[in-house]
Amino acid sequence: MNRKNPQFEKLTKTSLLVRESCLGMAYNGGCFLGASLSCVDILVYLYGHFLNCNKNNFRNENRDYLFLSKGHDVPALYSVLAENGFFSKDRLLNHLSGKDFIYWHPNTKIPGIEFHSGSLGHLPSVSLGVAINNKLKKINSKVITIIGDGELNEGSIWECLLVASSLKIANYCLIVDRNHFQANGPTEEIMPLEPLREKFISFGCNVYTVNGHSFEEMNQCFESINFNSPGTKVIICDTIRGKGIPSIEAKADKWFCTLDKEMYDNLLIELQTGDESGVQIPSTCVR
Protein backbone atom coordinates (compact mmCIF):
# COMPACT_ATOMS: atom_id res chain seq x y z
CA MET A 1 0.00 0.00 0.00
CA ASN A 2 1.37 3.37 -0.93
CA ARG A 3 0.99 5.83 1.92
CA LYS A 4 3.25 8.59 0.58
CA ASN A 5 1.77 9.92 -2.63
CA PRO A 6 -0.92 12.48 -1.71
CA GLN A 7 -2.80 11.62 -4.89
CA PHE A 8 -3.62 8.25 -3.40
CA GLU A 9 -4.03 9.16 0.28
CA LYS A 10 -7.79 8.91 -0.01
CA LEU A 11 -7.51 5.47 -1.59
CA THR A 12 -5.21 4.35 1.22
CA LYS A 13 -7.82 5.42 3.75
CA THR A 14 -10.53 3.64 1.79
CA SER A 15 -8.43 0.46 1.69
CA LEU A 16 -8.19 0.47 5.48
CA LEU A 17 -11.96 0.91 5.83
CA VAL A 18 -12.58 -1.88 3.31
CA ARG A 19 -10.27 -4.25 5.17
CA GLU A 20 -12.07 -3.39 8.42
CA SER A 21 -15.37 -4.30 6.76
CA CYS A 22 -13.93 -7.59 5.49
CA LEU A 23 -12.78 -8.37 9.03
CA GLY A 24 -16.29 -7.55 10.23
CA MET A 25 -17.74 -10.17 7.90
CA ALA A 26 -15.20 -12.75 9.10
CA TYR A 27 -16.47 -11.97 12.63
CA ASN A 28 -20.08 -12.00 11.48
CA GLY A 29 -20.32 -15.63 10.36
CA GLY A 30 -17.03 -16.06 8.54
CA CYS A 31 -15.86 -15.25 5.03
CA PHE A 32 -13.04 -15.83 2.58
CA LEU A 33 -10.88 -13.30 4.35
CA GLY A 34 -7.44 -14.25 3.01
CA ALA A 35 -8.70 -14.33 -0.57
CA SER A 36 -10.53 -11.02 -0.19
CA LEU A 37 -7.68 -9.07 1.34
CA SER A 38 -5.34 -9.74 -1.58
CA CYS A 39 -7.79 -8.06 -3.92
CA VAL A 40 -8.75 -5.02 -1.81
CA ASP A 41 -6.23 -2.54 -3.23
CA ILE A 42 -6.98 -3.53 -6.83
CA LEU A 43 -10.71 -2.94 -6.29
CA VAL A 44 -10.16 0.29 -4.35
CA TYR A 45 -7.94 1.61 -7.14
CA LEU A 46 -10.34 0.58 -9.92
CA TYR A 47 -13.51 2.04 -8.39
CA GLY A 48 -11.80 4.96 -6.65
CA HIS A 49 -9.62 6.16 -9.49
CA PHE A 50 -9.61 4.28 -12.78
CA LEU A 51 -13.03 3.01 -13.85
CA ASN A 52 -15.78 5.12 -15.32
CA CYS A 53 -18.30 3.23 -13.23
CA ASN A 54 -20.14 4.72 -10.29
CA LYS A 55 -23.48 4.69 -8.52
CA ASN A 56 -24.88 7.29 -10.92
CA ASN A 57 -23.90 5.77 -14.25
CA PHE A 58 -24.27 2.08 -13.40
CA ARG A 59 -27.24 1.64 -15.77
CA ASN A 60 -25.59 3.66 -18.55
CA GLU A 61 -24.27 1.35 -21.27
CA ASN A 62 -21.28 3.66 -21.81
CA ARG A 63 -19.90 2.94 -18.33
CA ASP A 64 -16.84 0.79 -17.75
CA TYR A 65 -17.62 -2.77 -16.63
CA LEU A 66 -16.00 -4.67 -13.76
CA PHE A 67 -16.66 -8.40 -13.35
CA LEU A 68 -15.43 -10.33 -10.32
CA SER A 69 -14.91 -13.87 -11.52
CA LYS A 70 -12.95 -14.75 -8.38
CA GLY A 71 -16.22 -14.67 -6.47
CA HIS A 72 -14.84 -15.40 -3.00
CA ASP A 73 -13.44 -11.85 -2.94
CA VAL A 74 -16.98 -10.58 -2.57
CA PRO A 75 -16.45 -9.09 0.94
CA ALA A 76 -13.83 -6.81 -0.62
CA LEU A 77 -16.04 -5.97 -3.59
CA TYR A 78 -19.16 -5.22 -1.52
CA SER A 79 -17.12 -3.13 0.90
CA VAL A 80 -15.57 -1.15 -1.96
CA LEU A 81 -19.00 -0.63 -3.54
CA ALA A 82 -20.36 0.54 -0.19
CA GLU A 83 -17.43 2.96 0.29
CA ASN A 84 -18.17 4.31 -3.20
CA GLY A 85 -21.82 4.90 -2.38
CA PHE A 86 -23.46 2.12 -4.43
CA PHE A 87 -25.40 1.18 -1.27
CA SER A 88 -25.36 1.97 2.41
CA LYS A 89 -22.42 0.62 4.38
CA ASP A 90 -24.90 -0.50 7.05
CA ARG A 91 -26.11 -3.12 4.63
CA LEU A 92 -22.82 -5.00 5.07
CA LEU A 93 -24.06 -5.89 8.55
CA ASN A 94 -26.65 -8.09 6.81
CA HIS A 95 -23.84 -10.50 5.95
CA LEU A 96 -25.35 -14.03 5.89
CA SER A 97 -28.71 -12.73 7.08
CA GLY A 98 -31.79 -14.30 5.51
CA LYS A 99 -33.28 -10.83 5.01
CA ASP A 100 -30.63 -9.85 2.46
CA PHE A 101 -28.49 -11.40 -0.26
CA ILE A 102 -25.01 -10.81 1.12
CA TYR A 103 -23.57 -14.29 0.99
CA TRP A 104 -20.24 -15.76 -0.04
CA HIS A 105 -20.47 -14.96 -3.76
CA PRO A 106 -21.53 -11.87 -5.75
CA ASN A 107 -25.07 -11.63 -7.06
CA THR A 108 -26.97 -9.02 -8.99
CA LYS A 109 -29.40 -8.27 -6.16
CA ILE A 110 -26.60 -6.11 -4.77
CA PRO A 111 -26.19 -2.73 -6.54
CA GLY A 112 -23.04 -2.53 -8.63
CA ILE A 113 -22.75 -6.24 -9.42
CA GLU A 114 -22.59 -6.86 -13.16
CA PHE A 115 -23.04 -10.62 -13.05
CA HIS A 116 -23.13 -13.33 -10.41
CA SER A 117 -20.13 -15.57 -9.92
CA GLY A 118 -19.09 -18.51 -7.79
CA SER A 119 -18.36 -21.14 -10.36
CA LEU A 120 -14.82 -20.40 -11.46
CA GLY A 121 -13.76 -19.75 -15.03
CA HIS A 122 -17.09 -18.29 -16.18
CA LEU A 123 -16.83 -14.53 -16.25
CA PRO A 124 -13.97 -14.21 -18.74
CA SER A 125 -16.35 -15.52 -21.41
CA VAL A 126 -19.43 -13.67 -20.09
CA SER A 127 -17.46 -10.41 -20.07
CA LEU A 128 -16.10 -11.23 -23.53
CA GLY A 129 -19.74 -11.29 -24.65
CA VAL A 130 -20.18 -7.79 -23.19
CA ALA A 131 -17.02 -6.61 -24.97
CA ILE A 132 -18.32 -8.04 -28.26
CA ASN A 133 -21.65 -6.28 -27.67
CA ASN A 134 -19.77 -3.02 -27.12
CA LYS A 135 -17.83 -3.52 -30.32
CA LEU A 136 -21.04 -4.17 -32.28
CA LYS A 137 -22.66 -1.06 -30.82
CA LYS A 138 -19.46 1.01 -31.10
CA ILE A 139 -19.37 1.58 -27.35
CA ASN A 140 -15.87 2.48 -26.24
CA SER A 141 -16.00 1.19 -22.66
CA LYS A 142 -13.46 -0.91 -20.84
CA VAL A 143 -14.55 -4.40 -19.79
CA ILE A 144 -12.37 -5.68 -16.97
CA THR A 145 -12.60 -9.06 -15.24
CA ILE A 146 -10.74 -10.02 -12.09
CA ILE A 147 -9.72 -13.67 -11.93
CA GLY A 148 -7.80 -15.57 -9.30
CA ASP A 149 -4.51 -17.31 -9.99
CA GLY A 150 -5.98 -20.59 -8.71
CA GLU A 151 -8.89 -19.98 -11.05
CA LEU A 152 -6.43 -20.29 -13.94
CA ASN A 153 -6.66 -24.06 -13.40
CA GLU A 154 -9.99 -23.86 -15.22
CA GLY A 155 -9.61 -24.74 -18.91
CA SER A 156 -12.52 -22.48 -19.84
CA ILE A 157 -10.30 -19.43 -19.24
CA TRP A 158 -7.72 -20.59 -21.75
CA GLU A 159 -10.46 -21.59 -24.18
CA CYS A 160 -11.87 -18.08 -23.85
CA LEU A 161 -8.47 -16.47 -24.37
CA LEU A 162 -8.12 -18.33 -27.68
CA VAL A 163 -11.48 -16.97 -28.78
CA ALA A 164 -10.79 -13.41 -27.56
CA SER A 165 -7.45 -13.46 -29.34
CA SER A 166 -9.01 -14.63 -32.61
CA LEU A 167 -11.66 -11.89 -32.42
CA LYS A 168 -9.02 -9.18 -31.73
CA ILE A 169 -11.36 -7.55 -29.25
CA ALA A 170 -10.36 -4.17 -27.85
CA ASN A 171 -11.17 -2.88 -24.36
CA TYR A 172 -11.17 -6.42 -22.97
CA CYS A 173 -8.93 -6.95 -19.98
CA LEU A 174 -8.29 -9.67 -17.41
CA ILE A 175 -6.69 -8.81 -14.08
CA VAL A 176 -5.06 -11.73 -12.30
CA ASP A 177 -5.05 -11.45 -8.50
CA ARG A 178 -1.73 -13.29 -8.28
CA ASN A 179 -1.62 -14.01 -4.56
CA HIS A 180 0.25 -17.27 -5.16
CA PHE A 181 -2.30 -19.39 -3.30
CA GLN A 182 -5.32 -21.44 -4.20
CA ALA A 183 -7.76 -22.98 -1.75
CA ASN A 184 -5.47 -25.46 -0.03
CA GLY A 185 -1.97 -24.24 -0.66
CA PRO A 186 0.54 -22.44 -2.88
CA THR A 187 -0.34 -22.52 -6.57
CA GLU A 188 3.14 -23.71 -7.46
CA GLU A 189 2.72 -26.78 -5.24
CA ILE A 190 -0.84 -27.67 -6.27
CA MET A 191 -0.93 -26.74 -9.96
CA PRO A 192 2.14 -24.79 -11.08
CA LEU A 193 1.35 -21.74 -13.24
CA GLU A 194 4.78 -20.32 -13.95
CA PRO A 195 5.97 -19.05 -16.31
CA LEU A 196 2.57 -17.37 -16.24
CA ARG A 197 3.44 -14.27 -18.20
CA GLU A 198 4.80 -16.38 -21.07
CA LYS A 199 1.65 -18.53 -21.05
CA PHE A 200 -0.55 -15.48 -21.58
CA ILE A 201 1.80 -14.10 -24.26
CA SER A 202 1.63 -17.40 -26.14
CA PHE A 203 -2.17 -17.04 -26.13
CA GLY A 204 -1.83 -13.72 -27.93
CA CYS A 205 -2.35 -11.42 -24.94
CA ASN A 206 -0.62 -8.16 -24.09
CA VAL A 207 0.70 -8.83 -20.61
CA TYR A 208 1.61 -6.40 -17.83
CA THR A 209 2.88 -7.15 -14.35
CA VAL A 210 2.44 -4.81 -11.42
CA ASN A 211 2.42 -4.68 -7.63
CA GLY A 212 -1.29 -5.08 -6.79
CA HIS A 213 -0.88 -3.28 -3.47
CA SER A 214 0.72 -0.08 -4.82
CA PHE A 215 -1.73 2.51 -6.09
CA GLU A 216 1.11 4.45 -7.69
CA GLU A 217 2.46 1.46 -9.59
CA MET A 218 -1.01 0.28 -10.59
CA ASN A 219 -1.81 3.75 -11.82
CA GLN A 220 1.37 3.98 -13.89
CA CYS A 221 0.61 0.59 -15.39
CA PHE A 222 -3.10 1.06 -16.10
CA GLU A 223 -2.64 4.59 -17.49
CA SER A 224 0.09 3.37 -19.84
CA ILE A 225 -2.15 0.77 -21.49
CA ASN A 226 -4.00 1.59 -24.69
CA PHE A 227 -7.15 -0.40 -23.90
CA ASN A 228 -8.65 0.75 -27.17
CA SER A 229 -6.14 -1.23 -29.21
CA PRO A 230 -7.15 -4.69 -30.38
CA GLY A 231 -6.07 -7.66 -28.28
CA THR A 232 -6.67 -9.00 -24.81
CA LYS A 233 -4.91 -7.15 -22.05
CA VAL A 234 -3.80 -9.22 -19.07
CA ILE A 235 -2.57 -7.43 -15.98
CA ILE A 236 -0.91 -9.74 -13.47
CA CYS A 237 -1.24 -8.01 -10.11
CA ASP A 238 1.29 -9.43 -7.70
CA THR A 239 -0.49 -9.60 -4.35
CA ILE A 240 -0.33 -11.21 -0.92
CA ARG A 241 -3.10 -13.40 0.45
CA GLY A 242 -4.38 -11.84 3.65
CA LYS A 243 -2.58 -8.54 2.89
CA GLY A 244 -2.73 -6.05 5.74
CA ILE A 245 -3.15 -8.48 8.65
CA PRO A 246 0.23 -10.02 9.53
CA SER A 247 -1.20 -13.07 11.35
CA ILE A 248 -2.94 -14.30 8.23
CA GLU A 249 -0.67 -12.99 5.48
CA ALA A 250 0.53 -15.59 2.95
CA LYS A 251 -0.89 -18.49 4.98
CA ALA A 252 -2.25 -21.51 3.18
CA ASP A 253 -4.89 -22.20 5.84
CA LYS A 254 -6.24 -18.64 6.10
CA TRP A 255 -8.32 -18.64 2.93
CA PHE A 256 -11.55 -18.74 4.93
CA CYS A 257 -11.65 -17.37 8.47
CA THR A 258 -14.31 -17.39 11.16
CA LEU A 259 -13.41 -15.05 14.00
CA ASP A 260 -14.60 -14.73 17.57
CA LYS A 261 -14.57 -11.42 19.42
CA GLU A 262 -11.03 -11.80 20.79
CA MET A 263 -9.62 -12.74 17.39
CA TYR A 264 -11.49 -9.92 15.70
CA ASP A 265 -10.22 -7.34 18.19
CA ASN A 266 -6.63 -8.52 17.85
CA LEU A 267 -6.72 -8.63 14.05
CA LEU A 268 -8.27 -5.17 13.95
CA ILE A 269 -5.28 -3.89 15.95
CA GLU A 270 -2.95 -5.75 13.57
CA LEU A 271 -4.64 -4.06 10.65
CA GLN A 272 -4.25 -0.65 12.20
CA THR A 273 -0.68 -1.06 13.50
CA GLY A 274 0.84 -3.59 11.11
CA ASP A 275 2.18 -5.56 14.08
CA GLU A 276 1.47 -9.25 14.62
CA SER A 277 -0.57 -9.83 17.77
CA GLY A 278 0.20 -13.49 18.33
CA VAL A 279 -3.48 -14.41 18.42
CA GLN A 280 -4.22 -17.92 17.16
CA ILE A 281 -6.68 -18.14 14.29
CA PRO A 282 -8.00 -21.68 13.77
CA SER A 283 -7.70 -23.31 10.38
CA THR A 284 -10.95 -23.75 8.54
CA CYS A 285 -11.15 -26.25 5.73
CA VAL A 286 -13.94 -25.38 3.29
CA ARG A 287 -12.74 -27.09 0.14
Binding site: H122, S125, V126, L128, G129, N133, S156, E159, C160
Partner: protein, 306 residues
Protein backbone atom coordinates in the same frame (compact mmCIF):
# COMPACT_ATOMS: atom_id res chain seq x y z
CA UNK B 1 -36.80 -20.29 -47.89
CA UNK B 2 -34.26 -22.14 -45.76
CA UNK B 3 -32.95 -21.88 -42.18
CA UNK B 4 -30.63 -19.02 -43.13
CA UNK B 5 -33.48 -17.08 -44.75
CA UNK B 6 -35.57 -17.50 -41.60
CA UNK B 7 -32.69 -16.04 -39.58
CA UNK B 8 -32.43 -13.23 -42.15
CA UNK B 9 -36.13 -12.45 -41.81
CA UNK B 10 -35.96 -12.54 -38.04
CA UNK B 11 -32.94 -10.23 -38.06
CA UNK B 12 -34.77 -7.76 -40.30
CA UNK B 13 -37.56 -7.65 -37.73
CA UNK B 14 -35.19 -7.58 -34.76
CA UNK B 15 -31.59 -6.43 -35.31
CA UNK B 16 -30.62 -7.46 -31.78
CA UNK B 17 -30.27 -11.05 -33.04
CA UNK B 18 -26.72 -12.39 -33.04
CA UNK B 19 -25.73 -15.83 -34.33
CA UNK B 20 -23.11 -17.82 -32.45
CA UNK B 21 -21.69 -21.23 -33.20
CA UNK B 22 -19.19 -23.62 -31.67
CA UNK B 23 -17.97 -24.52 -35.15
CA UNK B 24 -21.27 -26.18 -36.00
CA UNK B 25 -22.00 -24.56 -39.35
CA UNK B 26 -24.21 -27.16 -41.00
CA UNK B 27 -27.35 -25.02 -40.81
CA UNK B 28 -25.64 -21.66 -41.21
CA UNK B 29 -22.72 -22.28 -43.58
CA UNK B 30 -23.58 -19.43 -45.95
CA UNK B 31 -25.04 -17.06 -43.38
CA UNK B 32 -22.15 -14.59 -43.53
CA UNK B 33 -22.23 -14.55 -47.33
CA UNK B 34 -25.97 -14.16 -47.68
CA UNK B 35 -26.71 -11.97 -44.68
CA UNK B 36 -23.44 -10.17 -43.86
CA UNK B 37 -25.38 -7.70 -41.74
CA UNK B 38 -26.19 -10.37 -39.11
CA UNK B 39 -23.51 -10.45 -36.39
CA UNK B 40 -21.92 -13.90 -36.58
CA UNK B 41 -19.41 -15.32 -34.12
CA UNK B 42 -17.77 -18.71 -34.51
CA UNK B 43 -15.87 -19.47 -31.30
CA UNK B 44 -14.46 -22.72 -32.64
CA UNK B 45 -14.91 -26.02 -30.83
CA UNK B 46 -15.48 -24.27 -27.52
CA UNK B 47 -19.03 -24.85 -26.28
CA UNK B 48 -18.42 -23.36 -22.83
CA UNK B 49 -17.17 -20.13 -24.33
CA UNK B 50 -20.07 -20.05 -26.80
CA UNK B 51 -22.46 -20.18 -23.85
CA UNK B 52 -20.53 -17.68 -21.70
CA UNK B 53 -20.24 -15.20 -24.57
CA UNK B 54 -23.96 -15.57 -25.30
CA UNK B 55 -24.68 -14.70 -21.65
CA UNK B 56 -22.66 -11.50 -21.92
CA UNK B 57 -24.41 -10.56 -25.15
CA UNK B 58 -27.86 -11.33 -23.73
CA UNK B 59 -27.08 -9.32 -20.58
CA UNK B 60 -26.34 -6.43 -22.94
CA UNK B 61 -29.71 -6.73 -24.66
CA UNK B 62 -28.74 -8.87 -27.66
CA UNK B 63 -30.63 -12.06 -28.60
CA UNK B 64 -28.07 -14.80 -29.21
CA UNK B 65 -28.92 -17.97 -31.13
CA UNK B 66 -26.25 -20.51 -30.24
CA UNK B 67 -25.50 -23.49 -32.45
CA UNK B 68 -23.64 -26.62 -31.44
CA UNK B 69 -23.78 -30.37 -31.67
CA UNK B 70 -26.61 -31.29 -29.29
CA UNK B 71 -24.51 -33.78 -27.36
CA UNK B 72 -21.76 -31.29 -26.56
CA UNK B 73 -23.89 -28.16 -26.38
CA UNK B 74 -26.04 -29.72 -23.66
CA UNK B 75 -23.41 -31.78 -21.85
CA UNK B 76 -19.99 -30.16 -22.34
CA UNK B 77 -21.33 -26.76 -21.40
CA UNK B 78 -24.13 -27.92 -19.13
CA UNK B 79 -22.91 -26.07 -16.07
CA UNK B 80 -22.36 -22.90 -18.11
CA UNK B 81 -25.96 -23.09 -19.35
CA UNK B 82 -27.20 -23.64 -15.78
CA UNK B 83 -25.07 -20.89 -14.23
CA UNK B 84 -24.87 -18.21 -16.92
CA UNK B 85 -28.17 -18.59 -18.80
CA UNK B 86 -30.83 -20.47 -16.83
CA UNK B 87 -30.07 -18.95 -13.45
CA UNK B 88 -30.45 -15.32 -14.62
CA UNK B 89 -33.13 -16.45 -17.16
CA UNK B 90 -31.34 -14.82 -20.08
CA UNK B 91 -32.90 -14.75 -23.52
CA UNK B 92 -30.60 -17.20 -25.31
CA UNK B 93 -31.71 -19.86 -27.78
CA UNK B 94 -29.70 -23.06 -28.07
CA UNK B 95 -29.96 -25.02 -31.31
CA UNK B 96 -28.74 -28.58 -30.73
CA UNK B 97 -27.69 -30.25 -33.99
CA UNK B 98 -28.04 -34.03 -34.64
CA UNK B 99 -29.90 -34.95 -31.43
CA UNK B 100 -31.27 -38.43 -30.78
CA UNK B 101 -31.06 -40.86 -33.68
CA UNK B 102 -29.80 -38.09 -35.98
CA UNK B 103 -26.25 -38.72 -34.77
CA UNK B 104 -26.56 -41.79 -36.99
CA UNK B 105 -23.25 -43.72 -37.17
CA UNK B 106 -21.20 -41.35 -34.99
CA UNK B 107 -21.50 -43.62 -32.00
CA UNK B 108 -22.44 -42.98 -28.38
CA UNK B 109 -20.22 -39.90 -27.88
CA UNK B 110 -22.45 -37.99 -30.29
CA UNK B 111 -25.78 -39.37 -29.10
CA UNK B 112 -27.80 -36.61 -27.44
CA UNK B 113 -30.34 -39.01 -25.98
CA UNK B 114 -30.42 -37.52 -22.49
CA UNK B 115 -30.63 -33.91 -23.61
CA UNK B 116 -34.29 -33.58 -22.59
CA UNK B 117 -33.50 -35.10 -19.20
CA UNK B 118 -30.75 -32.55 -18.65
CA UNK B 119 -32.39 -29.45 -20.04
CA UNK B 120 -35.75 -29.93 -18.32
CA UNK B 121 -34.13 -29.72 -14.88
CA UNK B 122 -33.30 -26.07 -15.46
CA UNK B 123 -36.04 -23.81 -14.13
CA UNK B 124 -37.41 -21.57 -16.88
CA UNK B 125 -35.86 -23.47 -19.79
CA UNK B 126 -38.25 -24.00 -22.71
CA UNK B 127 -37.67 -27.08 -24.87
CA UNK B 128 -38.86 -27.47 -28.44
CA UNK B 129 -38.86 -30.56 -30.66
CA UNK B 130 -39.42 -29.83 -34.36
CA UNK B 131 -40.14 -33.04 -36.23
CA UNK B 132 -38.23 -32.25 -39.44
CA UNK B 133 -36.50 -29.40 -41.28
CA UNK B 134 -39.76 -27.91 -42.52
CA UNK B 135 -41.22 -28.04 -39.02
CA UNK B 136 -38.09 -26.40 -37.62
CA UNK B 137 -38.48 -23.49 -40.05
CA UNK B 138 -42.14 -23.21 -39.05
CA UNK B 139 -41.36 -23.28 -35.32
CA UNK B 140 -38.23 -21.10 -35.32
CA UNK B 141 -39.80 -17.60 -35.55
CA UNK B 142 -42.23 -18.39 -32.74
CA UNK B 143 -39.44 -19.79 -30.56
CA UNK B 144 -37.07 -16.88 -31.22
CA UNK B 145 -39.78 -14.30 -30.51
CA UNK B 146 -40.67 -16.04 -27.23
CA UNK B 147 -38.71 -14.46 -24.39
CA UNK B 148 -36.46 -16.58 -22.16
CA UNK B 149 -33.94 -19.39 -22.48
CA UNK B 150 -34.81 -22.19 -24.89
CA UNK B 151 -33.35 -25.41 -26.22
CA UNK B 152 -34.29 -26.52 -29.72
CA UNK B 153 -33.77 -30.17 -30.58
CA UNK B 154 -32.88 -29.34 -34.18
CA UNK B 155 -33.81 -31.55 -37.10
CA UNK B 156 -32.13 -30.97 -40.46
CA UNK B 157 -33.86 -33.86 -42.29
CA UNK B 158 -36.24 -32.64 -44.98
CA UNK B 159 -39.57 -34.47 -45.17
CA UNK B 160 -41.43 -32.40 -47.75
CA UNK B 161 -44.32 -32.10 -45.28
CA UNK B 162 -46.19 -28.82 -44.94
CA UNK B 163 -46.70 -28.27 -41.25
CA UNK B 164 -49.41 -26.22 -39.61
CA UNK B 165 -48.66 -22.92 -37.92
CA UNK B 166 -46.85 -23.33 -34.61
CA UNK B 167 -48.19 -21.57 -31.54
CA UNK B 168 -46.34 -22.32 -28.31
CA UNK B 169 -46.99 -24.84 -26.74
CA UNK B 170 -49.46 -26.45 -29.11
CA UNK B 171 -48.86 -29.85 -30.61
CA UNK B 172 -49.75 -30.64 -34.22
CA UNK B 173 -52.39 -33.23 -34.98
CA UNK B 174 -51.12 -35.31 -37.88
CA UNK B 175 -53.98 -37.83 -38.19
CA UNK B 176 -57.11 -39.01 -36.42
CA UNK B 177 -58.23 -42.40 -35.16
CA UNK B 178 -60.50 -43.57 -32.39
CA UNK B 179 -58.66 -46.59 -30.89
CA UNK B 180 -55.32 -45.35 -29.63
CA UNK B 181 -53.17 -42.20 -29.52
CA UNK B 182 -49.55 -42.00 -30.61
CA UNK B 183 -47.37 -39.14 -29.42
CA UNK B 184 -44.00 -38.64 -31.04
CA UNK B 185 -41.46 -36.01 -32.06
CA UNK B 186 -38.36 -35.55 -34.17
CA UNK B 187 -37.41 -38.14 -36.81
CA UNK B 188 -39.71 -40.76 -35.25
CA UNK B 189 -42.81 -38.78 -36.17
CA UNK B 190 -42.55 -39.86 -39.80
CA UNK B 191 -41.99 -43.46 -38.68
CA UNK B 192 -45.02 -43.18 -36.43
CA UNK B 193 -47.06 -41.96 -39.38
CA UNK B 194 -46.07 -45.07 -41.37
CA UNK B 195 -46.88 -47.16 -38.33
CA UNK B 196 -50.40 -45.72 -38.30
CA UNK B 197 -50.88 -46.97 -41.87
CA UNK B 198 -49.78 -50.43 -40.84
CA UNK B 199 -52.13 -50.37 -37.85
CA UNK B 200 -55.08 -49.44 -40.13
CA UNK B 201 -54.40 -52.60 -42.15
CA UNK B 202 -55.32 -54.38 -38.92
CA UNK B 203 -58.28 -52.16 -38.16
CA UNK B 204 -56.55 -50.18 -35.42
CA UNK B 205 -57.08 -46.47 -35.85
CA UNK B 206 -54.78 -44.00 -34.15
CA UNK B 207 -54.58 -40.32 -33.40
CA UNK B 208 -51.06 -39.09 -34.11
CA UNK B 209 -49.63 -35.92 -32.56
CA UNK B 210 -46.40 -34.11 -33.33
CA UNK B 211 -45.23 -32.93 -29.91
CA UNK B 212 -43.44 -29.70 -30.75
CA UNK B 213 -43.14 -28.23 -27.26
CA UNK B 214 -41.83 -30.32 -24.35
CA UNK B 215 -41.81 -27.48 -21.85
CA UNK B 216 -44.18 -25.77 -21.69
CA UNK B 217 -46.42 -28.74 -22.51
CA UNK B 218 -49.66 -28.49 -24.47
CA UNK B 219 -52.32 -28.35 -21.74
CA UNK B 220 -55.17 -28.46 -24.22
CA UNK B 221 -53.90 -31.78 -25.52
CA UNK B 222 -53.44 -33.02 -21.98
CA UNK B 223 -57.06 -32.28 -21.08
CA UNK B 224 -58.15 -34.18 -24.18
CA UNK B 225 -55.98 -37.17 -23.27
CA UNK B 226 -57.33 -37.21 -19.70
CA UNK B 227 -60.88 -37.14 -21.00
CA UNK B 228 -60.47 -39.83 -23.68
CA UNK B 229 -58.66 -42.38 -21.52
CA UNK B 230 -57.37 -44.17 -24.64
CA UNK B 231 -54.12 -46.15 -24.77
CA UNK B 232 -51.31 -43.66 -25.45
CA UNK B 233 -48.13 -44.81 -27.14
CA UNK B 234 -45.15 -42.47 -26.68
CA UNK B 235 -42.49 -43.10 -29.31
CA UNK B 236 -39.21 -41.22 -28.88
CA UNK B 237 -35.46 -41.33 -29.48
CA UNK B 238 -34.45 -40.56 -25.91
CA UNK B 239 -33.49 -42.56 -22.83
CA UNK B 240 -36.53 -43.40 -20.74
CA UNK B 241 -35.17 -41.30 -17.88
CA UNK B 242 -36.27 -37.73 -18.58
CA UNK B 243 -38.30 -38.79 -21.60
CA UNK B 244 -41.64 -37.41 -22.79
CA UNK B 245 -43.18 -40.55 -21.32
CA UNK B 246 -41.73 -39.75 -17.88
CA UNK B 247 -42.70 -36.11 -18.32
CA UNK B 248 -46.35 -37.10 -18.92
CA UNK B 249 -46.32 -39.45 -15.92
CA UNK B 250 -45.12 -36.59 -13.74
CA UNK B 251 -47.58 -34.03 -15.11
CA UNK B 252 -50.58 -36.39 -14.90
CA UNK B 253 -49.69 -37.36 -11.34
CA UNK B 254 -49.46 -33.71 -10.37
CA UNK B 255 -52.84 -33.14 -12.07
CA UNK B 256 -54.22 -36.15 -10.16
CA UNK B 257 -55.19 -37.76 -13.47
CA UNK B 258 -54.35 -41.10 -15.03
CA UNK B 259 -53.02 -41.79 -18.51
CA UNK B 260 -52.73 -45.25 -20.12
CA UNK B 261 -49.19 -44.67 -21.26
CA UNK B 262 -47.01 -47.13 -23.10
CA UNK B 263 -43.37 -46.09 -23.63
CA UNK B 264 -41.31 -46.94 -26.69
CA UNK B 265 -37.92 -45.32 -26.28
CA UNK B 266 -34.24 -46.16 -25.90
CA UNK B 267 -34.75 -47.46 -22.38
CA UNK B 268 -31.39 -47.29 -20.68
CA UNK B 269 -29.20 -47.89 -23.74
CA UNK B 270 -27.21 -46.01 -26.31
CA UNK B 271 -28.48 -46.89 -29.75
CA UNK B 272 -26.60 -48.86 -32.38
CA UNK B 273 -24.44 -46.48 -34.49
CA UNK B 274 -26.19 -46.82 -37.85
CA UNK B 275 -27.42 -44.60 -40.65
CA UNK B 276 -30.91 -43.27 -39.97
CA UNK B 277 -32.50 -45.34 -42.74
CA UNK B 278 -31.00 -48.52 -41.24
CA UNK B 279 -32.00 -47.56 -37.71
CA UNK B 280 -35.56 -47.15 -38.94
CA UNK B 281 -35.48 -50.36 -40.95
CA UNK B 282 -33.90 -52.90 -38.68
CA UNK B 283 -33.58 -51.61 -35.16
CA UNK B 284 -36.09 -51.28 -32.33
CA UNK B 285 -37.88 -48.48 -34.19
CA UNK B 286 -38.66 -50.58 -37.30
CA UNK B 287 -42.33 -50.61 -38.28
CA UNK B 288 -42.55 -54.33 -37.57
CA UNK B 289 -41.11 -53.99 -34.12
CA UNK B 290 -43.24 -50.97 -33.24
CA UNK B 291 -46.33 -52.74 -34.55
CA UNK B 292 -45.76 -55.85 -32.45
CA UNK B 293 -45.05 -53.84 -29.32
CA UNK B 294 -48.31 -51.93 -29.74
CA UNK B 295 -50.38 -55.05 -30.44
CA UNK B 296 -48.99 -56.70 -27.29
CA UNK B 297 -49.73 -53.58 -25.29
CA UNK B 298 -53.35 -53.14 -26.36
CA UNK B 299 -54.03 -56.84 -25.74
CA UNK B 300 -52.72 -56.49 -22.17
CA UNK B 301 -55.59 -57.54 -19.85
CA UNK B 302 -54.41 -55.07 -17.20
CA UNK B 303 -54.93 -52.26 -19.67
CA UNK B 304 -58.41 -53.52 -20.62
CA UNK B 305 -59.43 -53.55 -16.96
CA UNK B 306 -58.35 -49.92 -16.67
Amino acid sequence: MDYIDVLGQLYNEDPSIVVITAENRALIRDLEKRYPQIPFIDVGIAEQTAVGVSAGLAKSGMKPIVHGLASFLTMRSYEFIRTDIALPKLNVKFVGFIPGLLSEANGPTHQAIQDLALMQTMPGMNIFLPSDYEDMLECLPEIIKNDGPSYIRANHIRSGVNHSRFIIPESEKIRSGSDITILSYGPLLEQSNKLCDRLIDNCIYSDLYNIRSFTPFDKKLLRKLYKENKPIIVIEDHLEFGSLYNHLLTISKKDDERLNLFPINLGNNYHKPLLLKDLMAEDCFSINNLYELIIDFIKDPKLNKA
